[in-house]
Symmetry: C2
Subunit: 225 residues, 2 copies
């Protein structure tokens, strides 16, 4: 089977969520997706099944597919799971990080800094979440990496749903401090910083759902695609 259309749809939806272009509760109409991705409905329906298995989308019988809307309890569960996973990932990273790994992380933090200064908010959001995903890639355990990917995506939905104003970014210096601890091989400090960072992120989210129903075509066909 050719999975190209399915992969394009799944990847496009996940990316739009990561960049906060696609919000919780938005309806993903089958025909809309067919037109956006130029494919047959069978591909769309399969991609939606995949997205549902990944907790990205909720399929409602006879009504269609909607981006998931996490409850407050689910939000708390996601952040607890994140702390569990990211602490293990961090431990793996600090134990095996090479000089190249550290340089890559520093480079990424620098890019975050530049994106903030250039007021490119979408880029800053993407890079902010991406920092955590790079740690997952480096930890040497693909299972943990996959879980982290799912948790970061679900965090994105939670953030876009429960942030009254603009989505909060990770603290300005917190990523840099995390990289410092990795570079120094200081496991205890690293764990503290990761825990502090994630609790800080969780506290920065107020429980206020925002409402939005933007144009699907604009979102999924973002500039640069």
């Amino acid at each position: 089977m050719s999975q190209a259309p399915e992969q394009a749809i799944v990847g496009g939806v996940l990316e739009a969520i990561a960049e906060h272009r696609l919000k919780a509760g938005v309806k993903l109409g089958e025909q809309d997706l067919c037109e956006i991705y130029h494919c047959n409905r069978a591909h769309v329906r399969r991609a939606l099944a995949t997205l549902e298995a990944q907790k990205v989308v909720k399929l409602e019988p006879n009504r269609g597919a909607f981006i998931a809307t996490p409850t407050p309890e689910e939000a708390r569960n996601v952040f607890q799971a994140r702390r569990a996973i990211e602490l293990v990932i961090a431990r793996n990273v600090v134990r095996q990080a090479s000089a190249e790994d550290v340089a890559r992380l520093r480079e990424h933090v620098e890019q975050e800094h530049l994106a903030r200064q250039s007021s490119d908010r979408r880029d800053a959001i993407r890079l902010s979440g991406r920092f955590h995903l790079i740690l997952g890639e480096m930890c040497g355990n693909e299972v943990l990496d996959e879980f982290l990917n799912e948790l970061v995506m679900r965090s994105s939905l939670i953030i876009s749903m429960y942030s009254a104003s603009q989505a909060p970014l990770c603290g300005d210096e917190e990523h840099a401090l995390i990289v410092d601890a990795i570079a120094q091989g200081d496991e205890a400090t690293l764990m503290e910083r990761i825990e502090h960072h994630l609790r800080h992120l969780e506290r920065s989210i107020a429980i206020e759902p925002t409402n939005a129903s933007p144009d699907l075509k604009d979102i999924l066909q973002a500039p640069g695609r």
Copy 2:
């Protein structure tokens, strides 16, 4: 949309894996599944997409769907992830378990004991894995519970793939000792026992793939379905 056929297929496959009736590498033909579950191919293809998203099945273009075959590295990653997840779950359980929870766990351990004595191996296997899933249900965090479900399922595949002889069950008394620690609210002991138990299970698996290609109809239409 009516998800009944899709759910039946996904549930049936997962259950067959948990009971070691369905082994790593087995081909799941679309037409076979249509006949077994009396549904149209569209349902089968969607269920297979779901199973792939859950890492249960690997879809190969133009060749079909095969039960996943974890590599040795993946096996190690799964067990490391399991230790990370199950330790957090255990901590949650010991902090919030009620008297009813403890009674439920003791009842379950007793059932495991009876299944072992009655030589009902399939039941013993199912109950053995189920003990861990009950802890997940009790931990009050559905995200962790979902991850645990996936990890236990993948462990089942690893066990059925890498065990040269009969699938090892969890140690005879280890579950009972875990329940004791929960009953006594002894968090430190519980964590030790969980860690020891999981490392014991991991060590009991030899890296010897077994080969089998049994009849799909017999497996998915097990007695009692």
